[in-house]
Structures are given as structure tokens and as C-alpha cells.
Amino acid sequence: MAETLHRRLGMTDDEFATVNEILGRSPADPELAMYSVMWSEHCSYKSSRAHLGGLPTDAPWVVVGPGENAGVVDIGDGWMAALRIESHNHPSFVEPYQGAATGVGGILRDIFTMGARPVGLWNQIRFGKLSDPHNRFLFNGVVAGIAGYGNAVGVPTLGGEVEFDPVYAGNPLVNVMCLGILRDDQLVLGTAGPPGTVAILLGALTGRDGIGGASVLASASFDAGAGAKRPSVQVGDPFEEKKLIEACLDLYERRLVVGVQDLGAAGLSCAASEPAARAGVGMDLNLDAVHLREPDMTAPEMLMSESQERMMAFVAPDQVEEVLGVAARWEIEASVVGTVAGGDRLRVYHNGTQVVDVPAASLTDEAPILRRPISRPDWIDELWNRADPHADVPLDVALLGLLDDPALGDRSWIYEQFDHMLFLNTVHGPGRDGSLIRVRGTDKGLAVSTDGNGRLCQLDPRRGAERLVYEAALNVAVLGARPLAVVDNLNFGNPEKPAVMWQFTETLAGLGAACESLGVPIVGGNVSFYNETDGRDIFPTPVVGLLGMAEPIPSLPDPVAGGMSLLLVGPEQSTSLAGTAYQRVVRGTLGGRPTRVNADQGGRSIELAIRIAHVVPGAVLHDVSQGGALVAVTELLIAGEVGARTGFGSVEEAFGEDPHRFLCLVPADRKAQVEQLAREVGCRVEDIGMTGGSDLTIAGTETVSIPLERLAEVWKGAISVRMHGAVHE
């Protein structure tokens, strides 16, 4: 019997044998349920843990690094910032609205678990092409789910990125990042506290939501049988979460908790064992006290339930009454469900009898660590050597094609569905390189950029990952912010394939090297494996979320208007178009080797951007990324409703995406000031034209001129026209 159960729960025979060894006997069903969810890929990081040790995680301002619910950094003047990123890929494919919504709910809990008020959300979402109605359904549902939950829970969604590629059609990616701020004396950790401490379950009722979701959904691939796994869907309730946030922040303010752990994947199993393991104690958990939505639940179901909007608070015995009072004030459920015990055993009681007796730490610390085979795939060489077809088109045709691309065009169809103004702190919201919010009561601004690029990383995962870190850093630098900390979300295919593990380890090497050279610590991360459908893996898609700080917040840039010099700052573009949007949209290929990061020049560009933002009044700065310099110029012109004269000598100069470059627009009389600063920092500046008129005129091998109105019309329709089903590709 038990053999079939452990396999049904997604455990291997080896893992089952290890459980028998730990316990010195066969596990009872509730025990097996706990091991199966805690040792799942999603919770235990068993395929990745062996490789995560080498990342740079230290800096003097790091308060909490990887391993807790979120990373925390000191931002000075008595304030701290908490940040975390997580994926909800498979749930969003099964049910896009609820999958995305519960992804938002989960990442919020990770932040307010630390004592912080969540102040901003970002999302990184990837789908198949919008010409397919099912992809439109998924995209629409995910955006609505993020909006439905984030808006109602009352946390602004401040930015993000979207990509469309057939490789994500059967496996969309939904990564959500959250930032919180807290006073430095309000930090709370996920610890159970000393023996005698009381465990109080707060929030929503426990039902049969997502039973086994952690092991079944997040840790296995989709295939033709995906339908059978469908019942593991969770429904989010932002209203309950809003009350839970306020109740928890009230508890922290009153100093009523020793520790807090949110209930996400693996539910009660995780919320009981992880805090006990961290504190080096045991725990007695009474399932009869758990408030249930469905009365007839079994012990394994209660232990595995992933019902949303629940938290476990650890409270000193003499403060239990006060905690229950605060919960009543905010109109949330609260039940005393356990007591911290001496020793190391986690004991669970149900219907008055003991049903679990295991070493608490064995669920976390003794989870298997796999050293999966790693092998560099041969096809990488073919990719690097693949020559692009000579399928170039005139510059204006290429430019219009790129502006019409839904990943490059106007994304307001997405972000206008998100409340991005709540809390009255949004200085730079969505639709820009990065976002920036003020920290009220200080002159500080916190800037965030999230970046991913699956195609770049498919070509070279190491170089791709390095590029993402430097791009994110430049994105916050153009807002005047200095990079502080990074979180990463590593979306990969099936780790049982040696080529996927090679992509994974190469990515980690790239992330580590880039963060090391920038001097920015990685304070948290999330790994999502098994992103494959019918044996086809997604591109390796690491996502970087970078937090920076501006102090003070620079004055706002001027509106883009006529008479401004177009300055292109940074190293000269190489002849490589590998991994660019141009290659994808115009040539329809993917090949070559991407230009690698140059840490020295990258650091100088970041430094110069920060200086210009702070000392050149009104300067307009914009990172050059997907679509290259010409698309970046056009985006600024569309925003300012003004034309320009510019020149590009080659397709590479116009559309190349080499790193460390940004645009600076200033009134012509401030050009010398920018050039002087660039000399001081050691950066190259190229004057590429002047704004004015109502056309964009590009001098190249031949000169072309396009009315700005036409460019704007195409750019604005890139997503909205497709979502009306009017474009067939």
C-alpha cells in the first residue's frame, strides 16, 4: 500500500527508503504526506541546492540573506527594505486568473511575514504568440488575475516585462516580485521561538485547496495527462489577504509575535517544520484546532492543504489573548493550533491521537540533495556558428516591424489594468526602464527593475545572465539610483536532462560573476524547474529583480521636446546581432554569440547615468535594450510627440543591443555639461542627432523619413490590436 502511495505523491523509491531510515520504521500516511511535499522540488530545491552556494550574498547592508521568507537590506535612517521574487508558472497555465492571483498573494505574504508593509509589485510574464487564441486567453487571464488580486489587496503594481515566444506556448511563465519597507526595529523572522511558545493559525479557513500542489504541480512536467492534475487549483481571496496584512502589521507594531511563517506551498507541513528547524526545537501541532472549510478533511489533507491567505504566528503564552483580540479587531479567524516543545520532534495530533512523530528538521535539512548530471549540449556550437540569412529590409520597415512587436510596443494595455498609484509614492511607474517610489519621511527613493531575456540566455546562459544583471542596474541608474541588492527567479526546463542542468549552472556562474563585479549581493531567489511541455523545454529564463536607491530623488526629467540633443552614451556597438529583437522580428532567426558584459565599461555607464540624473537638470535618460538604439530613440519621441533627425550607419548600429548603453536627451545648451561628466567618468558619448519637427528622419546608407504619427500609431497598437484578435501571424 505505502509503496504505491509514495509514488502517487511524487516520491522516488530512494527518497522513500531515506524516510524509513530516518524514522527507523515505515512512515504513517500523514508522515509520508509531509515528507512528499517538503521534499518536493518546489520546496526542497533538491536539484539546485548543490549549486546555489557559490553566489555572492554578503554586503554590509544585508540584514537577511537567502533562506528566509524574503531578503532584507538596510537602507539607512532607521528603514529597511524586504524583497522577494517567486514563480507561479504551472498554476497559471492550468487556471490563468487564479494562478496569477494566488502568485501575487503568495509573494505578498513572503514580504509581510518579515514585518514589512508591501509597497510595490512587479511581474515578469511570458506566453506563446498572441496570434493563437489560447495564448490570448492565457495572457488576458494572467493580467486580469494580477490586477484583480493586486488592486483589491491594495498594493500597487509598478512595472514588469512581457515576452511572447512559441517556446512558452505550453508553459507560460508568471514571476512576481514584491518590495516591502519596514522600520529597522520591526524585523520579524520565521522562527518558532523557545519551548512553550504558542502557534496561532491566522486567516482563511483550511480546505482541500491545491492538495499536493507543491509536489504535483510545481515539480512535474506537463504532458498529455495534464487534465488529470487539474483539481490542484487554488482560489485567491484578496479581501482576506488585505485583512491579514493589516492584522499582522498591527501585531508587529504591538510587538506581539516571536516569529511568523506564511503558509504557501506545503501549507501546515512547512509552517510547522521550518520555524521549528530554524529555532532548533520541536513542536506539538493539534489538527483538531485548525479551522476548516470542509469538516471531513483527513490529517494528510490538512497537512498538505495549500489554502491561501493563512499565516502562522508564534506568540509568548501570556500574549495569546491579546493576539486573539487583534485578530478579532481585523475580523480574521485565529486558532491556537500548537505549542513549541523541547527536543527536536514534530508531533501532530488528530482526533485526539498522535498521527505524526518525526524530527522536525528532517523535513527541511535532510531533504535530498541531487547532483544531477551536467553536460554542455552540442547544439550550442551550431547555434553560435549559425549565420543569419541576408534578409534585411529598409530601416523604416524594420523599425515599424519592431514597434509593432507586442514585447516592444506600448504595454499600457497591461499596466493600465493595474493600480500603480496607490500610496501616493509612485514617482516613476510602469512603462519606463525601472520604477521609483519615494520613502515618505526621508529623501530616499527605492528603484526596481526586473529583467529577463530567454532568447539571449538560450544562446549563452552565462553571458545572458550577466547581461540581465547589468541591464537591471543601468535601468535603475538612469533613475538616479545606485544598485543595492538582487533577487533572482530561475525558470528552467527539466533538470533530469543534463543540458538543462548545464544551462542552469552556466546561468548561476553568470549571475554570480555579474553581481560580484557590481558589488551587489543576491538576497533571495526562486528556482522553477520542469518548465517543459511534451518533452520540449522552455528557453533558460532567469529573471533578475534589482533594487536600487536614489538619495535624494533626482528632479523629474523634462518632457521630450524639440531642440534637444540626442546623445548615445556607452561603448561602441559591435557587429553582433545575436539574440536581438531585430534577429527575431526581422530575420526570424536565433543564432550567434551575444556580446558579453564588460564590467569596467558597465560600471562606468552606471556611474555616469547616476551622475547625470542627479546633476544635469531635466536630462531625459533611457536605457538601450531590446530593439537597440533606434527603438529607444523612437520610444522617447513618441512620448514627447516630437520628431528628430538622426543617423545610423548600419543595421547593427540601429538595432544592436550591446550592453552598457543609454540615451541622454538634453537641451542643446547642456550637451557640453554631459560631455564633461562623461570625460570625468571615462565614458564614450556620441551625438546622434537632434529632436524637432513631426517626422523621424534617419540618415543611413539611404535616408528615410517616417511621420511620427505613423510610428506612434503602430507602437500603440502592438498589444491592443492583437488582443482584439485582428492580427494573424
Binding site: 493600465e416 489594468q417 498609484m421
Partner: protein, 230 residues
């Protein structure tokens, strides 16, 4: 002079409204929806958010919260009552303002600045503005599409083009007659979908929210003391 800001479970703009009113010189106090008295307060704001999760219908559950009887009493006394976004929806459900708000024409949440034309200055919301004045103020709602009841509403704000003309193209959510804000016949109870508190500082979409909130504060100041009798 103290303004009460009513918070229901699920309300999320109460701190923003308090910040904005205090920035403009008013004193505020947050009132939890379980309170049964608003004695000592000179006016109230029902701020935006998702009271009771917006479940059933927006405002449908909130209108039965204990505090609403006190809000009705304050309104009956002629004291200023302002509903912003979700607060507007609640005032309609409670019958303090006519009509109802339903889902936006395109069935999408809309968060962006819109242009509003001031239609009347005979209200607690617009007394400091001028008729025809065009304001830029952020909208942030899914159910912002105003539907009138049997009685004709008194519009104080309409969605418009930047030049002030009221057109169908400038109507973001399908509201009847382009209505963005209305007032009761006495001009003392007002509701609007856009968020004036999101347009009060230089880095925001505009500072046009000031004139609306200053109108409200001035109205609270001007309501003769003793009218309520405590």
C-alpha cells in the same frame, strides 16, 4: 474641525486620503466601520478600495456596516459627505446618491489620468473651482460606469477631452452622459469615480485634485456649527 475617514475591511485608500487632506491643512481621523457614532466630526469621506472585497456588488455589503447609519445621520444634518470611487459606489447603494455604478464598458480595470470638466460649482466638491474648468485626475476602477436611476442626477464632473469638450471618445468607461461625479440636490453629498488625492503633488499626474479637496475642506469649515446638535 475634524474630518472622519471611514474604513471598511477592504478599504485601501484611507491613508492616502488622510495624507492628502492633512497636506492641505485639515485634521482627520480614521473611523472603523463598526463605529456607530460620528459625533464630533464635521464631515466624512468614504475613500476608495474594495470594501468587503466588492463581493456581491460593490458597496452592497458595506452599506449595511454599522457606521452607515451614522453617515446617513450626518448627511441628513447637511454636513459634507464625500465618496471617492468605492466610497461613491457605497453612497449609491445606500441611497444617499442616485444611480449605480456597473462594470466598465470594456470589462477592464482602468488606472490612468483622465480629463474632467467641472459642470457645476454648487457642491461641496467643486465650490472652489470654476464651471468649464478642465481637471486632470487619475481614474482607478473596474466598476466606474455610472447608470442613473429614475431621478436625473446632478452632474458636477464629466469626462472630457483636454479642451473640455464632452465626447464619447473621452468617456473611458461608458458612463451615462459622461458622468464622473454627482451631487445630491442640496449639494452636500458628493461622489466621484476619479481619485483627487492622487493629484496633489508635483510628481503626480497633476495637482488638480487640490481644488476638489480644498472645496471639500472649505465646505466642512463653512457648515455652521451646532447644526448637528451633537
Amino acid at each position: 474641525m475634524t474630518i472622519g475617514i471611514v474604513a471598511f475591511p477592504g478599504t485601501n485608500c484611507e491613508q492616502d486620503v488622510a495624507y492628502a487632506l492633512e497636506t492641505l491643512g485639515a485634521d482627520t481621523v480614521t473611523v472603523w466601520h463598526r463605529e456607530t457614532s460620528l459625533d464630533g466630526l464635521d464631515g466624512v469621506v468614504l475613500p476608495g478600495g474594495f470594501a468587503h472585497g466588492d463581493y456581491l456588488r460593490t458597496g452592497a455589503i458595506a452599506r449595511f456596516s454599522p457606521v452607515m447609519a451614522a453617515v446617513e445621520k450626518l448627511a441628513a444634518e447637511g454636513r459634507p459627505v464625500l465618496g471617492i470611487c468605492n466610497g461613491f459606489q457605497i453612497l449609491c447603494e445606500a441611497g444617499l446618491l442616485p444611480g449605480a455604478l456597473i462594470a466598465n464598458r470594456d470589462l477592464k480595470f482602468i488606472c490612468r489620468p483622465v480629463h474632467l470638466r467641472v459642470e457645476s460649482t454648487n457642491s461641496i466638491l467643486t465650490r472652489a473651482a470654476t464651471v468649464g474648468q478642465v481637471l486632470t485626475i487619475p481614474l482607478n476602477s473596474y466598476e466606474g460606469n455610472y447608470v442613473p436611476g429614475p431621478e436625473a442626477p446632478t452632474a458636477v464632473l464629466r469626462y472630457c477631452e483636454p479642451d473640455g469638450s464632452v465626447t464619447e471618445a473621452a468617456n473611458p468607461n461608458g458612463s451615462s452622459d459622461g458622468i464622473a461625479g454627482i451631487v445630491n440636490p442640496a449639494g452636500t453629498v458628493a461622489g466621484l469615480m476619479p481619485h483627487p488625492e492622487r493629484a496633489i503633488e508635483d510628481f503626480m499626474a497633476s495637482t488638480d485634485g487640490q481644488v476638489l479637496l480644498e472645496s471639500f475642506i472649505a465646505s466642512v469649515d463653512a457648515t455652521p456649527a451646532g447644526v448637528s446638535g451633537g
